[in-house]
């Protein structure tokens, strides 16, 4: 349909043109989140997930957790093992619908809200709270759990403005202080996890990475094996460097991000670029979430961290609201049909 819009050489009407020209940053990030949900849904449709391996994988996340956390995990894994085909199909369909719901404007809020609930339940029952209480959490193995980042992103990309003049998508949505708090919790939390025993033991990071390499294509296994062998026996220095990097990213957000002052905005952008780069390196170390093994359920935390970082990209100050021109005919009246599709970060009609 979209391809049918810009027909011939006729100039599209302003509102449609605005939609065709480009996406508002928040909407672009929402769509990226939708792509990840779609990907998750399709990964859930893989043959491996319809077998015994999936509930066994879920049950494995209970290990090391307190009984209050582990018992529901074991119960749900047992339930799934009894109805593995039906429940797996439902899980996949839910994730597919979340992706499509985020992409379709009238259901953005519903889908984002549902994704928070879904993500929180999967974080517990599917990922064992990311191993945070089991003492196994490590930024390289995907801590604090990819799925909790889906929930955080749904919150930070909610289609409403709390602070329209804030310098980033996340801050406009959640407010400056809440967005800042979210950033600090994630990145400082990762920095702290990087220096816990699960990361700083001599072979911890090396073993984590080499474990990821099994079943991967040769090129990815080569990267992970070489990375693992380079870090073998150097767990402590590696974890200190990683923690310092993550801490610098966390605190880098405190740099001013006013778009009017170009130098500070550049510094903030550099921090975001660094965060994206670290996320990509972590993703490689995570073996792309095991997606190329045929048994990965999601792309792991790397892409989510990158998306989170992009939600804090410094934005230009929002333009003042345009004064609507008086209708001058059928075309003009059609143009005014969707009011203020994407002025700055205003809520679009479908999202309101």
């Amino acid at each position: 349909m979209s391809q049918s819009l810009a027909v011939g050489h006729a100039p599209p009407r302003p509102a449609a043109q605005q939609r065709l020209a480009g996406l508002e940053p928040r909407r672009a990030l929402q769509l990226a989140l939708g792509v990840l949900w779609l990907l998750d849904g399709m990964l859930q449709f893989q043959p491996f997930m319809f077998g015994r391996g999936f509930p066994q994988m879920l049950a494995g996340s209970a290990a090391g957790n307190p009984a209050a956390v582990a018992r529901p995990i074991t119960w749900s894994a047992t339930l799934i093992s009894h109805h593995e085909v039906l429940l797996n199909a439902v899980f996949a369909a839910v994730q597919l619908l979340l992706g499509l719901g985020i992409a379709w404007r009238p259901t953005v809020k519903l889908a984002l809200g549902a994704s928070v609930a879904w993500a929180l339940s999967v974080w517990w029952l599917g990922e064992g709270l990311g191993g945070l209480l089991a003492g196994t959490a490590n930024p390289v193995n995907g801590a604090p759990g990819a799925v909790i980042l889906y929930a955080l992103l749904a919150f930070l990309l909610w289609p409403a403005d709390r602070d329209p003049s804030a310098p980033s998508v996340a801050a406009r949505t959640a407010g400056r202080s809440v967005a800042l708090g979210s950033w600090l919790v994630v990145w400082l939390g990762l920095a702290v996890l990087a220096i816990l025993p699960a990361s700083r033991a001599p072979q911890a990071i090396s073993d984590t990475i080499s474990d990821m390499a099994s079943g991967e294509p040769a090129w990815l296994a080569w990267i992970d094996n070489h990375l693992a062998s380079a870090l073998a026996g150097h767990g402590l220095p590696a974890s200190i460097v990683l923690a310092a990097l993550l801490g610098a990213i966390a605190l880098g957000i405190l740099l001013p991000a006013s778009a009017s002052a170009s130098a500070p905005a550049s510094a903030r952008r550099a921090v975001i670029v660094l965060a994206v780069a670290v996320a990509i390196v972590l993703w490689l170390a995570q073996g792309l979430g095991g997606m190329l093994t045929g048994s990965g359920t999601d792309p792991d935390s790397g892409p989510l961290l990158a998306l989170l970082a992009l939600a804090f990209w410094p934005l230009a100050a929002p333009a003042p609201p345009a004064v609507p021109a008086p209708p001058a005919g059928p075309a003009a009246s059609a143009a005014s049909a969707p009011p203020a599709a994407f002025p700055g970060s205003a809520v679009s009609p479908g999202e309101a």
Binding site: M1, S2, Q3, S4, L5, A6, V7, G8, H9, A10, P12, R13, A15, A16, R19, L23, R27, L31, G34, V35, L38, L39, M42, L43, F45, Q46, P47, F48, F50, G51, V85, A89, L96, G99, L100, I102, A103, W104, R105, P106, G215, E216, P217, A218, W219, L220, L288, M291, L292, T293, G294, G296, A334, A337, P338, P349, G350
Partner: protein, 235 residues
């Protein structure tokens, strides 16, 4: 273990539905003189039939060696259209104005037809219902992931625009009268999917709205999701 037969069956049925619907679009567009993206619809008919055959062996009507040149030609066609569009050449409502995604779709079809025999040979089943791709089964699984991500990106982009006002979809250029000359200029390369609606172009009247643009978008989404699923199976 391969993908569950019921699941591949559902996707195969969806693809056949899309193929039949797009064939119907071509007929309806000609009869009602309503523009439609002829190349896209022809491409969807071919892809729908081919993908249904890949998903369910019982629906296979032609061997891969026939499909490969078809989709190779399709990729060339959409690629040339993408270049034309990039150069700002005269566009037509009877051709896809954003051909790049369809070029990638054709390339993905070609990729799957080239890779599938390798994977099927390593498994007992025929077609995707008996296929269990593994990372070691293909040296190009990363390409499958990239293509799948592209498909999902295309799906969400199309879905994002589903709420555009219907009046915007019905807009028709004043230059529609030039369609006949455009479509009879013989610019189509040989071997590309035939623009079967060419005859209708000469009789299309300016101001005619596009034929069911939202249904067309839903077809694109169904095609993208199914193709993404098949590519994921190849990981």
């Amino acid at each position: 273990m391969g993908a569950p037969a019921w699941l591949t069956g559902i996707f195969a049925a969806l693809m056949l539905t899309v193929a039949v619907y797009c064939a119907g679009r071509l007929i309806a567009a000609r009869r009602w003189r309503r523009p439609t993206e002829v190349d896209t619809d022809v491409g969807h008919v071919l892809m729908g039939v081919a993908m249904a055959g890949m998903l369910a062996a019982s629906l296979r009507i032609m061997p891969a060696v026939i499909w490969e040149p078809v989709f190779g030609a399709g990729a060339l066609w959409f690629g040339s259209q993408a270049l034309r569009a990039r150069r700002g050449a005269l566009t037509s409502p009877w051709r896809c104005l954003h051909p790049a995604p369809h070029m990638v779709e054709c390339a993905a079809m070609l990729y799957m037809f080239l890779i599938l025999p390798t994977l099927s040979a390593k498994t007992s089943g025929a077609g995707m219902d008996g296929m269990s791709g593994s990372a070691t089964a293909s040296r190009f699984s990363f390409l499958a992931l990239v293509l799948a991500l592209f498909m999902f990106g295309y799906v969400v982009r199309v879905a994002d625009r589903l709420t555009l006002p219907a009046r915007a979809l019905a807009f028709q250029p004043a230059g529609a009268a030039n369609l006949a000359s455009v479509l009879t200029a013989g610019s189509e390369p040989a071997g590309t999917p035939a623009p079967t609606g060419c005859g209708a172009a000469s009789t299309a009247r300016p101001g005619r709205p596009f034929l069911a643009p939202r249904c067309s978008a839903l077809c694109k989404m169904a095609m993208g999701i199914t193709m993404g699923y098949m590519l994921i199976l190849m990981l």
